[in-house]
Symmetry: C2
């Protein structure tokens, strides 16, 4: 296993410790509940927003905790849902007079943990509402999901509700906004290689040297088809057609376009993909008002990418442009 | 070859086009000379700063063009120095009344191109001075270098002189500052895997499943030794000892600490490495005033990382903290 690991069981805690040490004034690591939270959550004036999911998708979600984004993230082990008890205790730690918003990517395990954690927290008098993200157009049901999976489009939901919460939006407003973002966001991904969870020590799946998987899930779940490698532009064409025809996105739409790396694809290739995707989206008559190129929701060291479109209105565009602070910085 | 490529010959131009399309108001792509430059270089008030090197190290250097950083970057093909003619023409395009600073990572090919390009530009009356970066402690001479190689520490030189240039520093001041940063910056890297330049189509070197290379160069040049895989902390210990003992960095020093990913290592692992490195640097009595975790100078999709220390003084710390804008954004 070619990974930087000490003890596979400590992979996630050691990563969380590193995040906290790199952000000593803004973030707190709470080892008891395996969580990262803002050091200064303005609990009285703002709905608190939290998300948990399996680890291995970084920066989602433990590295996008901060002002204008998540107030806390409670990850599970790699590709495993967080324990319900951690969801409960995270909810207690961030509990606000204005309520708590649970963002959940649509996986059965995550939903189960959050359902139980929510019930336990509600018994303590904490008001909680949920928004479920399911932006992946690749497959209807999947190995770990009933209905569509939640993948990189999740970022836009967090960014929008995070910005609105900072401006004082109510819990009900945030649920409406979150659902509105989910309704206009679509993603599809693909992989060139598998990836190796530290505790497993071997790849979760393998692809031959001339193969790729279209519509891959972020835990290596099967996508639409396994096919021969193609040129970069042909891959973009296929993902874009699947995504654009789903909502559908139409000529005249203002959109955000994201090319999200899966973890092992260098940023040079992501910008090459972005350049062609930008041209094709523009050719379809859409206006790209915001763009995102980099890693937002990964699968460990998997080589691959996903393409996301978000249909924008002026309010949503403003929320995506609002200032925010997160754990990872470029300089 | 598991890469997103159309035509290997167009890999770099297609990437540059993507960078420009993603940054339409701040950056310009000039296809004739294969360069990325700021759209609004304040030529009359500021020394212009440029760097060129082989491609394949992104974000260095084409993605760190922007206010407070580079004014232009003229890359060569993957792992190839830029043509002297491109260095010349880039120098002409950014030419400022206050002069032009050439930053060069210490590789024989890059130095040769910049020497020639500088001479050609000087014949046109452009004033040019150079700073050579050579932060890699791994080996004295190497496959492509006489003397030490320039690697990820390069970022700190760009950030510091970029900030000082925005404040109006003269060309002579910037040379002094750049050399001062080089003098206090040390790096060493290592690799778990090789990488594949698009035009070559096969890995530039391979490592067995249980092997790693300590002191690797950013073009896969041999390092100090090829050894059995070790645990993450042991690898950090070895790199830190090599780096810290070189200057040496001493108890009581204020430092910046960088964990730089080589391209194929997920950010989860980089933060795990950072956490332990932070503890060990602190245990040595140094105070970490600034930290950097992510990709700064990569080798395509190589799995691996480098560790950099910079000894800070209050002026340098302020320059590193100054605002800047670059092509790649997190949100």
């Amino acid at each position: 296993m070619k990974k930087f690991v000490n003890d596979p069981k400590q992979f996630v805690p050691e990563m969380l410790k590193g995040i906290a040490l790199a952000n000593p004034t803004t973030l707190k690591y709470v080892p008891e509940y395996n969580l990262i939270m803002r050091a200064d959550i303005p609990k009285d004036n703002k709905v608190s927003i939290m998300q948990g999911s399996g680890s291995g998708h970084e920066p989602a979600h433990v590295m996008i905790v901060g002002r204008g984004m998540l107030d806390a993230a409670c990850p599970g082990d790699v590709f495993s849902a967080p324990a319900a008890d951690y969801v409960y205790n995270t909810s207690k730690l961030v509990a606000s007079k204005k309520g708590v918003l649970h963002l959940i990517n649509n996986y059965t395990g995550d939903k189960m943990s959050f359902d139980m954690g929510k019930e336990m927290a509600e018994a303590d008098g904490i008001e909680i509402k949920i928004v479920v993200v399911n932006d992946d157009v690749a497959v209807k049901d999947s190995t770990w999901t009933v209905g569509r999976r939640g993948v990189a489009g999740n970022f836009f939901v967090i960014k929008a509700v995070g910005a609105a919460a900072e401006k004082g939006a109510s819990l009900d407003d945030l649920v409406k906004l979150g659902e509105r973002v989910v309704a206009v966001t679509r993603t599809m991904g693909m992989a060139l290689t598998g990836c190796t969870p530290p505790a497993k020590g071997t790849p979760i799946f393998t692809l031959a040297e001339d193969e790729m998987e279209m519509g891959i899930g972020i835990h290596g779940e099967p996508g639409r088809k396994r096919v021969k490698m193609a040129k970069a532009n042909a891959i973009v064409d296929e993902l874009l057609e699947a995504v654009a025809s789903d909502l559908p996105y139409k000529s005249g739409d203002d959109v955000a376009l994201m090319i999200n790396g899966m973890g092992g694809t260098p940023i040079s290739e992501l910008y090459l993909l972005y350049g062609y995707a930008h041209e094709q989206v523009t050719k379809r008559g859409m206006k790209i008002k915001r763009n995102y190129v980099g890693e937002y929701c990964t699968s460990l060291e998997m080589a691959g990418f996903s393409l996301t479109l978000v249909k924008l209105d002026p309010e949503l565009e403003g929320l995506l442009a609002a200032p925010a602070e997160i754990a990872i910085r470029t300089f």
